[in-house]
Structures are given as C-alpha cells and as structure tokens.
C-alpha cells in the first residue's frame, strides 16, 4: 500500500499541469500567428461567448475581436511583459451588456489571447486606486504578524466576495500552516490548521512562482479542448488554463466550488499563498485579480517590515547581551572564562545546547535530554562545506550517526580554525492540527486503481516533532561576533603567554651571561665569611679567656657578609624564576639599585663611573618589578659594553617625573655610539651588534614597556655616547 502511495505521489508530480491541452470554459482562447494576424488555434464556445456564427480558426483576428492584433496591442511589448497584459474590452455581438476582457501574452512564437468575462459594474480607475490605497493603509496599521495576516485576508475577501480567505504559510517541512483567515459562516475555520506538503505538488509550486494568481471560477466544468495547434501548447501564463482533475476533485472533497490562490513571494521564493474558497461559482475579473496581487505584494512588504523591525529589536537586545557576555571574559584566562560562561551564552541565544571548540579543548552545555557528542558534532560540521551553517537540521548534517541520540535540532554553527561554535535548538514535540491525514495526501481508488486526492479534511490532531525556532540573520551575526571575539581574545592570550615566556627566557639568558661576574660577587662575601670563621676560632683558641669584643666585631662582619651574599642570590632568583606577572607599585630607586647590583656589580673593577640622578627617591612606577629591572639591566649592560675600551666610562641613570602620570627613566653612556643602520632596526627581534648576543634584548625591552603602557626609544647616539629613555605610568595615576 505504501508503494502504491509513493507511485501515486510521483505520478502526481509528473502531471504536465502547464500543458493541459484545454481551458476552463468561462472564456475563450485564441492562438494567433503574429506574422499573418490569423487565428491558428482556439478553444472555447465562441457562439456562446461572443455570439460568433462561425469557428474563428483560420480567420483574421479582426474578424473575431473587431481589431487586428497590432490594433489590439497598440504598441504594448509582449516580449518585455512578465505576465499577460490586459489590452482591450470587447462586447458580445448581440448583447452589448456582455463584455469581455482580452488579455495577451506570448507562448513560443505565438501570441495567446485570453478572452474572459469582464467585471459587470466596472468602476473608474481612479476609484479602484482609492480602494487599493485604503486597503494598503489598513494593512499598514498592523503591528503584529497575526493582525497583518488577518487584515490581508479581510481585504482580499472584500474585493472578491469569497466565503473564506486563508493566508497560508509554507513551513520548512513543506507543509502549509493557516496563519490568517477571513470567512463567512458558510465555512468552518481553518486557522492554525496544517496542510500536508503533498497537497501541493512540486510543479504546482513552480508554477505559483511564475504566475502569481490562479482562479477556478467553477470547479465543476467540462474543459474546452484546444484545436488547430498541438495540445502540448504551453499555457503557463494563461488565466484560463485548465487545472488538474485531481485538484478539482480535491476542491470538491473540501466543499469548494470556486477558488483563487495568490502567491506570496519572498526574495523570489514561494513563502505562502492567499487561498480563497467559495461555495458558489464566482468570477474574478482582471482588475479584481490585479487588486489582489497588490494586496499580496503589500502583505509581503509589511511582513518584511515587521520581521525586520522584530529582527532589529532582537539584534539590539541580543547584541547588548552578547557584549555584556564578552565583557566577562578576562584577557589572560580566556579559555577558562569562556568555558565557565557557556551556559549564559546558551541562554542569550535561546538555545538548548551549545558546543564550543577552542583549539583542542571542547566544551558543551546542554539542557536535559540533549546528549550531543560535541567532538562528533564538530567532526560532522568540519566535513560540511559551509563554514557558517544556519538552520541546518542535525539529522541532515549526519543522518546515519548514532551520536545524536534521539535528538533532532536546528543548528547554527561556525567552524573556524581556532574556534568553532555550535548552537542547537531542539525540535520539541508539538501538537499539530492537520487538516486531514497528513500521511494520505493522495488516495488510490481500490476498485479502479485511479489516483485521487484525499477525501477527508477532518481535523487530525497529532503530536509530532515540531519545527525549531529558526535562526535569524541577526542571530547568525551575533554568533559570528562571539566567535570572532573569542578568536581574538584567545590569540591575545596566546601571544601574551608567548611574550611572557620570551621575556623570561631572555632574562635567564641575560643572567647566564652575567654568571661569572655574579659568581665573583657571591664568592667575595663567602670567602670573607670563611676567613672570619676560622679567624674567630683562632682568636678563641689563642686566648680562651681573652677580650671577646674583637670576636664580636668580626662575627658582625660575618653576618653582614652573609646577608650580602643572600641579597645577591635573592635578586638572581627573582630574575630567573618563572612567575606570574604582577602589577603593583615599583619603587624606582630600588629597581635601579637592584638592576645595578645584578648588571654592574663590578663597576669599580671595570672603571665605570655610575651617576644616579634621582630627584625624588620615593617615586613609584606601576608595573612588575622584575620586568622593569630586566629592562634596566639590559640597558645598563648595553651601555657598559659600549664603553669597553673608551677612555671615559660614565654611565648615567636619571629619573624624571615628566607629567602627573608618567615617569621617564634615562640611561646614557659615553660609549662609541650606534651606527645608522643599527638605529633603524634597533627594536626589532634578532638584531644585534654584539657577537655573543641573541639580539632579543631591546625588542624584549620594548615588549615589556609597551605591556606596561609605556614607550621606549633611542634619545640620542653618536660620538658622545648613547641615551635610551623609557616611560612608565606612575603608580596610582
């Protein structure tokens, strides 16, 4: 039985509905060869319609309609027209009150003329425009989609006098939902009802996009066959085109005698229909149809307005929620912050599950019932060609996979190199009122085997998997923003960590280069301690009862030597230990002193004069003491190295308070100066003038100072020596 149904559906979809070979009999069709101005094909009862005495086939157009084809077209360009054009109104030969509209369009090399009954009490064009304007104004007053749909249905009903007008929206599963309605008591309400996708076959939908309005004035009719030309004639644009018998049967089953449907197009795609039903036969003449097309267009324009208003409200609300969320992320532990705040982000987006991949780390937060495997989800997303995915159904992403569990959801995801984010909205179960059994859109007659539409439109309530709230453009933009921000922050975090490593490595290597000098500095007090120890021992041995004052004096000197050794070790350890960067008050005088003790403990031996100009010994900079000492150590060593072999060797360190918020530290030497090509590359990594240096010194200095919010620069260089300066924010400013 299922197989039969499938075959039936396929047959239905194959029916060539645009080439029915016949028309509806309320009008007549003329197929004209424009080169000869003769009627070469026709359909319709011309005697009944116009009171013609003979078959129009083979005659000149003027003989039938009173005017030649060019006289009728009067310069209208059919090849430029997107649909049939109204060109003329003509009268019945005998009864002048019976009037007909002539509509012209091209079909291949022919011109097709639809002759159909005109509106009986035809109004002036001015009045028609007024009525359309009023209808549009009433629709514009709608402030919600519900009221808009209702207003549009009411306007169409007032123009056409159909008993029931439905606004019908196609959902993502191809089913249609009645979202607006205006009706008389003759029909029951269908508001909220769902019609199965199979009720409207695919080729009918395609035709709906091509010509936006179709009327069946009387569903009980005998089609008028086309003669003179092939019955394969393409009638896509003819208002008289005969419809599929299955459709007529469908209407009859629904109790509908006359119907009209107007396509609702959004961005060129079929969004929905305005479907009209009448219990009695009902003609819908040309200008009434045009008015309905305007209403449909106005409906879509108002729909776009309301949706874009709604979307911009959402964008704003979501945008600021996302901003607030991003503000919570710190700059040095992005991964942990993101992971901790994931549930909040999920709530912001109204999602039921959120999965995030940050490089190799995977995080997920899911509502109860969701057991999505984040790793497998991202694998599937990465196989997907699209980097940005919106409104993708989980089951379409990976139909086979068992990792989804029983879950189906609509996914919004961005798969990036460093960061991938996926948000899922579940397709929660909902109760749907189907207008008839959704599984039986067509029926196969048991006896005849003939294909027929379903007969029952009884409400068929069923609990089924619902449609997830779709992901809107604005939401997608916000997801992109979040991913972009996390990417940026995590890159910053990585750079920051690498910088800290580099700064540390450079510090260790600087201390390595100073090792022999520092060993000497350390060994001096140790030597003294050892000497004093043995000396005091001898003192006591030589004269056990002697004066202990001398021994005490030496013991004191021992203690201070030990302290001095300890201080050197402490400074050294501070420089080589890897530790978190601190931000606090750094007494500048102390930093300079410590840096000198590490970088230049042997000033006297090297014959270097150190001049310290410190106007205020209490000045404090804001930052990390070890890193500031590192910069000073570097500049001091560079200065001293540059003075090797010079006759005057003087190192000057000057501290200046340059503003209420900044301190400047200036380190100058009397060395040989820097060459011009060295100057331009000074702060770039791996540039060095020394044979044993790695050339990271000044670039590291710049990294450190800029991280502190200061600047470092070469103030002057030349025969009189070189001066570097750097600024630091004052503590507390």
């Amino acid at each position: 039985m299922r197989a039969a149904r499938e075959i039936a559906k396929e047959e239905c979809a194959r029916e060539p509905i645009h080439r029915p070979g016949s028309i509806q009999p309320h009008g007549g069709l003329l197929v004209v060869d424009p080169r000869t101005d003769r009627v070469i094909g026709q359909a319709g009862d011309w005697r009944e319609l116009l009171g013609l005495k003979s078959d129009p086939l083979g005659t000149k157009v003027a003989k039938v309609l009173g005017k030649s084809l060019s006289g009728l077209l009067r310069g209208h360009d059919l090849s430029a027209a997107s649909e049939a054009l109204f060109v003329e109104t003509i009268q019945h030969r005998l009864f002048s009150e019976k009037r007909f509209d002539v509509l012209a369009h091209r079909s291949g090399s022919y011109v097709l003329l639809d002759v159909e009954p005109a509106l009986e009490d035809r109004q002036s064009a001015a009045l028609l425009f007024t009525r359309i304007r009023e209808a549009a104004d009433r629709m514009r007053a709608s402030d919600s989609l519900e009221t808009l749909f209702e207003a549009a249905a009411a306007e169409v009903r007032s123009f056409t006098a159909f008993d029931r007008v439905l606004v019908y929206q196609f959902l993502s599963d191809d089913s249609g939902k009645v979202v607006g309605e205006a009706r008389s008591s003759a029909f029951t309400t269908l508001l909220g009802h769902r019609f199965p996708g199979g009720d409207i076959p695919a080729q009918a939908r395609a035709l709906y996009v091509r010509n936006v309005i179709r009327v069946i004035p009387d569903a009980i009719y005998v089609p008028a066959q086309i003669s003179g030309v092939s019955s394969e004639l393409d009638l896509s644009d003819s208002s008289l085109r005969s419809v599929s018998p299955i459709h007529l049967e469908y209407l009859a089953n629904m109790g509908v005698r006359a119907s009209m449907s107007v396509s609702l197009l959004k961005d060129g795609a079929l969004w929905g229909l305005i479907a009209c039903h009448s219990q009695q036969p009902l003609l819908v003449p040309y200008e009434t149809r045009e008015a309905c097309k305007y209403i449909a267009a106005e409906l879509m324009s108002q729909l776009r307005r309301l949706q874009s208003e709604e979307e911009s409200r959402l964008h704003q609300r979501l945008g600021s929620a996302v901003e607030r969320w991003l503000d919570e992320l710190g700059s040095n532990q992005v991964t942990a912050d993101v992971a901790r705040n994931l549930p909040l982000l999920k709530t912001c987006f109204g999602a039921e599950a959120i999965c995030l991949r940050l490089r190799d780390d995977m995080f997920a937060d899911q509502d109860p019932g969701s057991m999505v495997d984040a790793g497998r989800l991202f694998e599937a997303l990465e196989r997907n060609a699209e980097k940005i995915t919106t409104n993708l159904r989980l089951e379409d992403l990976d139909p086979e996979a068992s990792w989804r569990g029983d879950l189906d959801a609509s996914v919004c995801a961005i798969a990036g190199d460093d960061v991938s984010l996926a948000l899922l909205r579940f397709r929660a179960p909902e109760v749907v009122s189907w207008a008839g059994n959704p599984d039986e859109p067509v029926e196969v007659d048991e006896e005849t085997g003939r294909l027929g539409p379903r007969r029952s439109f009884e409400v068929w309530s069923r609990t089924q998997r619902g449609i997830a709230r779709p992901w809107l453009e604005a939401e997608r933009e916000c997801v992109k923003r979040v991913v972009g921000a996390i990417e940026r922050l995590s890159r910053q975090e990585r750079i920051s960590a690498l910088q800290a490593d580099l700064i540390h490595v450079s510090r260790v290597s600087a201390m390595g280069a100073l090792a022999s000098t520092l060993a000497h500095e350390l060994n001096q007090p140790l030597t003294a301690i050892s000497n004093f120890g043995r000396g005091v021992r001898l003192l006591i041995d030589n004269d056990p009862a002697g004066n202990s004052e001398e021994a005490k004096r030496y013991l004191d000197q021992m203690s201070s030597a030990a302290l001095r050794a300890g201080q050197i070790v402490k400074n050294l350890r501070g420089m080589i230990t890897k530790r978190p960067v601190t931000a606090g008050a750094v007494p500048v005088a102390r930093a300079i002193h410590d840096a000198l003790s590490l970088a230049l403990p042997d000033a006297r031996v090297r014959g270097i004069d150190v001049d310290l100009i410190l106007p205020d010994a209490r000045l404090t900079a804001a930052g990390d003491p070890v890193q500031i000492e590192q910069v000073l150590t570097n500049l001091i060593r560079n200065g001293c190295d540059a003075m090797e072999g010079q006759s005057i060797r003087k190192l000057t360190i000057e501290v200046a308070e340059v503003s209420v918020e900044a301190i400047e530290i200036r380190v100058s030497d009397t060395g040989y100066g820097l060459s011009e090509n060295v100057q331009s590359e000074l702060f770039k990594p791996f540039q060095t003038t020394k044979s044993d240096g790695m050339g990271l010194g000044l670039s590291i200095c710049r990294t450190i100072i800029e991280r502190h919010g200061g600047q470092i620069w070469l103030e002057r260089t030349g025969g009189a020596g070189t001066e570097f300066r750097f600024s630091l924010p004052k503590f507390g400013s």
Partner: protein, 129 residues
C-alpha cells in the same frame, strides 16, 4: 720569614684575610690595588703575595708579570676561576692558584709551603714555561 702580602679591592675580604693570617702567625700587609702594591713593594722584603685576579686598574695577571724575577712566590686568587685562566697564571709563574671561596686550611697550607720554599732559598723563576 713569615710575611704575607694581601692584594684585594674589597674591604671585607681584606679584613677577613688579615685576621686569618695574622692569627695564624703571619705578618700581613694589605693593599687595595695592584698598582698600590707595586709602588710600595720592596723586593728586599720578600713574602707570599696573595693576589686577587680581578682588580681595578692593573689586574692580577698584569701584576704577576711585573713581579717576574722578584723572588717572592705569588698565589693568585679568583672569585670565578676559569680553568684556562688558572693555566695561564701557572704558566706565567704563579706558585699556585686558589678559587674563592676556599677552605682556610688550604689557604694556610699553600701560604706555608710557598714561604717554606722561599726560605729554602729557591728563587722563583717567574716566566718559566
């Protein structure tokens, strides 16, 4: 013949060595730089010269070369004894080299043997290779 010359630029080292050597029975004369020592030194008053390698002005190796043939044994001391530097010092005629910090017994032993050799009348041929 128990004279020791100490040449070191640091007060704390000077005073501690002076104490150790004085109490061990030596006559100690202290100098801050090699140049000051060279100015004051009288080859007629030989003794063990304890010379720091790293000194302001003329460094230890320089002073060592200037003491060539003076007859007093020279012991070089260094806070960062580089083996290459030690070899160079020994080749230049140093009696011994000692790394700081040292065991005071070791220092006293070296001083004692230096002075014993001096007493035996051995003249130190500074500069033998």
């Amino acid at each position: 013949m128990k004279r020791v010359y100490v040449i070191d630029d640091e007060t704390i080292v000077q005073s501690s060595m002076e104490l150790l050597l004085r109490l061990s029975g030596y006559e100690v004369r202290v100098f801050e730089t090699g140049d000051a020592f060279m100015t004051a030194f009288n080859p007629g008053e030989p003794g063990c010269v304890l010379l720091d390698l790293r000194l302001p002005g003329s460094d230890g190796l320089n002073v060592l070369s200037r003491l060539r043939g003076c007859g007093s044994p020279v012991v070089l001391l260094s806070g960062h004894m580089d083996p290459a530097l030690g070899i160079e010092a020994l080749r230049a005629g140093a009696f011994d080299v000692i790394a700081k910090p040292y065991d005071p017994d070791h220092l006293l032993q070296v001083v004692q043997s230096a002075l014993e050799q001096l007493a035996k009348g051995e003249r130190f041929q500074i500069g033998r290779a």
